[in-house]
Amino acid sequence: MGISRRKFVVRTLLGGTGVMLGAAYLGRNSIRRSIYDMMENPDMLSYMGDTSNPLMWFEITNDNKVVLHSPKVEMGQGSFTSMVQMAAEELEMDISQISIVHAETATGNIDGMSTGGSTTTAGFWQPLRELAATMREMLKVEGAKKLGAEASSVVASKGTISAGGKTLTYGEIVDGVTDWEIPETPALKDPKDFKFIGQPVARVDLIDKVVGTPMFGMDATMPDMLYGAVVRPDRIGAKYKSSDISKAQGMPGVIKIVQEPDFVGVVATSIVEAENAKKAIIVDWQIDRSWQTKDIEDAIQVGKGDKMIIQKVGDADGKLEDGGEGIITAEYRSPIGAHAQLEPNGALAHVESDKATIIMSTQVIQLTRSEVAKRLGLDEEKVNLVPTYLGGGFGRRLHTPNAVQAAVLSKAVGKPVKCFFNRKEEFQKDTFRPPTHHQLKAKLDANGNIEALEHSFASGDVMFNAAMVPAIAGTILGADIGATRGARIQYGNIPHHRAVSWHSELPFATSWWRSLGLLANTFAIESFMDELAVSAGKDPIQFRLDHIQDDEAGRRLKAVIESARDKAGYQDTANGKSAMGFACSTDAGTPCAHVAEVTVSGKEIKVNKVTCTIDPGYAVNPDQVKAQSEGCIIMGLSASMYERMYVEDGQLRPTIYGPYKMALMRDAPKEIDVEIINGTGKPGAVGEPPLGPIGAAIANAVFRITGQRLREMPLTLA
C-alpha cells in the first residue's frame, strides 16, 4: 500500500462559496426548485469538520481501548452506537473495546454544522469508516515495524496486530509512536463481511442510562461553582430596558446581581436562592403590543406573506382555476408546538482572564462557542466547549445562547456559574414549531384518478431565523426549506401538481422541531389524499399506489406502502368503533408508511396499534431504527392528538406539562410493529421521517369510524 500524506475533502453545506457566488444565478425559480430537491438529501445537511486525521478521532489507550471522540452529539437518536459499530468494523475491534465520548472543542475535532436533520449516521457512513480503516492501517504500519515484519504481512484482529506468531495490542503499538505515517485510504469492507454493521447491537450508552450515571448538561459541576438565574420576560416581544435590583440585593445567598445592557441576572450560592432573588428583581420591559392567538392565525394564512412555488409539474394552476368544475378543496391547520424536552436549556460556564470553559448540552457546538467567544471578546480557540449528553434535542438546541448569559455571569463573579431556564421559561422562550395553514385543491378525471393536485401552505419560520444558517440562504432560496419538508407532492403520476409556500414572520421565535414541516404538511396532504380516495370510491392504499411514478424513489415508496398494508392486514372499512387509517411520506430520501389502528369511544380517540414500514436505505442498527420509529410515532401522535400552545394577552401558554397536554403511557399504542426495508444499501435518514404520516393515519382511521374529517391538529372530535 502506498504511503502518502493526504487530506480528505471537507463536506460542506450552505454558506459554501458555490452557493454564495451563485446567488444571482440561483435566483431563478427552476434552479431554486432543484436546490430544494438537493436539500432533501441528507448528505447535503450532514457535517462540516475533519475527515482527514484519525488521531483526532481515535485515542488509543495503553490498556488497549479506543476512545472515539465524536464531534456529533448523542441526544437519544442512537448515533453514538452506530458510530461505534462503524468504527469497530474497520478498526477490527470488538464493540466493547471502544468507548465513545463527545469531543471537546479543545481537541480540534469540531463540527461546523450541527447534530440534526437525521444526518449523523448517514453522513458518517463513508468518512468515519474511512477514518477507522486508515487508523487500522496506521497501526499495521507501526505494528509491523515493532514486530519486524512487512506491513503487508500483518493481520489486524480484535485490537491486535499479528505477524509470524507474534502479537501486539493496539495499546502496545501506540506506545512511543510520535510520528505516524498516514496511508492512502484503504478499501472498505465488503458488506458481506460485516460483523457489527447491520446488527441490533445494544446501545453503547444503555447501562449508564439505566443506572443514572451519564452526565447531561444540567449535571455538570466545577469546584466553587455558583448558580445563576436570568430574568426573562413572559410577554411576547418584550425588550429589556432597565431593572430595579434593590429588593434582590442582600437576599439570602446572593453573591451578585449582574446588570447588562440586554439582560439582568443574579448569581447565588444555590439554585433556589438564585431563583428567589430573580423574582425580586423588577424589570422595565418595552412591550409594543399584546398578541392573541387570533393575531397569529391571521398572520399564517395561505395568500399572506411571501409566496414561492416550490414544485411545479404540468399546469396545476390552470387545471384548478377558481370556480372550475369538479374541483375538490379542503383546508387544514396545525398549531404552535413546543419541544417540551425534559432537560431545560442552560450551561455551566467558567470564564477566566483569557479563556473560558462551557459545559452544556447543545446541538450546535461551533455556533455556541463562537457566540460565547464574541460576547467575551476572546478568540474562539480560547473557549473550550465541552458537550454532554442531551436530555432531548428535537431541534430545541439548534441555537443555545443561554451559554452566553452563563458566561457573562461567570465573568462577573470570577467563578464557575451554572445557569438554566426554569420550566416556565422553557415553555415561553421555546423556539416553537410554527403554526401552519394548508389549502388543498384537486380534480379527479373520469376514471377517478387525480388529474391535478395543489398543496398551498403557510408557515412561520423554520430555517429562516435559525442562527446556524446564513441569512443569505433565505434570500437565495426564497422559501423556507425547513417549512417545506414534506410539502411537495410525492405522487409523480399525477399529471399536474404543484406546491406553493407562503411565509410570514411571527412575533416570537419559531424554528426547528423534529421533522420540521413534515408533520403538518404530511397531515394535510395525506388526509386530503384519503378524502380524494373516498371521493373516487377507491381503496386509499391502491389509490396512492396508482399515483406513484415508476422510478427508484417511487419503487421504494411503493414497497413500504405494500409492506405496511400487508403486515397490518389493512381493511378499508370500520369494524364497529374501530378502524385502520393509512398514510405515508418520504422525508430526506426515506419513505415510510403507517397503518394506525384506532378506536373511538365517545369523544376519545385511542390508537391501539401502529404498523410501520420504513426504508432508511440501510439500517446500521436495526434495533435503533425501530426505536427511532417508535419514538417518532409516539411523539407525532402526541403532537397530532394533544399538543397546542396558544397566545393570550401577549403570553405563550401553557407553561407546564399537564396543561400542555402530551401523550403519556396510557396514550401510547400498546403495539408498534416496525418493519425495515434496506432499499439502497446505504444508510439514510431515520430520526425524523417516521414522524410524518402518523397524524394523517390516525385522522383517516377516525373518519372511517365517525364520518368526521378532522382537519385541524390537535385532532378533536365534535
Binding site: 437519544g76 449508564d208 439505566v210 442531551l390 436530555g391 420550566r423 401510547a668
Partner: protein, 157 residues
C-alpha cells in the same frame, strides 16, 4: 439540621427546611441521577422513594424527609447488580436520550413493590411521568418483564 437515610447511608444536612429535596440530593449530596424537569411535580423526572413510596422530589420539602429512608436511582441497583426494573430496562433497550428514565424506573420500582403484577390499566394509572423521546412502548414491555423477573427472584430466594 435535618437527618435521613439515603441509599442506606445516614445523612445530615444543614439547609433551609423548605428547600426541595431534589436540590439537596443533586447539589448538596452531588447525586445527579435524579433529574430536574419542571419543578412543579408535573413530569416525574425527579421521582425518588421516600419510605418506599414514589415521591416527586422537586416539590417535596426536605424537612418532611426527617427520619425517613430515601432511595434514589443510585441506590436502586448498579451496573454489576441491577435491580430487576433496571435489568428489564436493559433487556428491552428502553432509553433514548435517557434523561427521564431514572424517574420512570423509580416510579416503576415503587409500583411493583405495591403491585407485583400490574395490569395494563394499573400501569396506565400509575406510571404518569413524561418521556419526550416516546419510549413508552418499550417501557410498558420492560415493566411487565420487570414484574416477571421480580416474581422469579422471589421464587428463587
Amino acid at each position: 439540621m435535618i437527618s435521613f437515610t439515603i441509599n442506606g447511608k445516614a445523612q445530615m444536612v444543614d439547609v433551609e427546611g423548605d428547600t426541595p429535596l431534589l436540590w439537596v440530593i443533586r447539589d448538596m449530596l452531588n447525586m445527579k441521577g435524579t433529574k430536574f424537569g419542571c419543578g412543579k411535580a408535573a413530569c416525574g423526572a425527579c421521582t425518588i422513594h421516600v419510605d418506599g413510596e414514589a415521591v416527586r422530589s422537586c416539590s417535596y420539602a426536605v424537612k418532611y424527609a426527617e427520619g425517613k429512608e430515601i432511595t434514589t436511582i443510585e441506590g436502586l441497583g448498579t451496573a454489576d447488580n441491577p435491580h430487576p426494573v433496571q435489568q428489564a430496562w436493559i433487556d428491552e433497550v428502553v432509553p433514548q436520550c435517557g434523561y427521564c428514565q431514572p424517574g420512570f424506573m423509580m416510579a416503576t420500582a415503587a409500583l411493583l413493590n405495591k403491585n407485583p403484577n400490574p395490569t395494563d390499566e394499573d400501569i396506565d394509572k400509575n406510571i404518569i411521568n413524561v418521556c419526550r423521546c416516546g419510549t413508552y412502548y418499550r417501557m410498558r414491555k420492560a415493566i411487565k418483564k420487570a414484574a416477571a423477573l421480580n416474581a422469579n427472584s422471589i421464587t428463587n430466594s
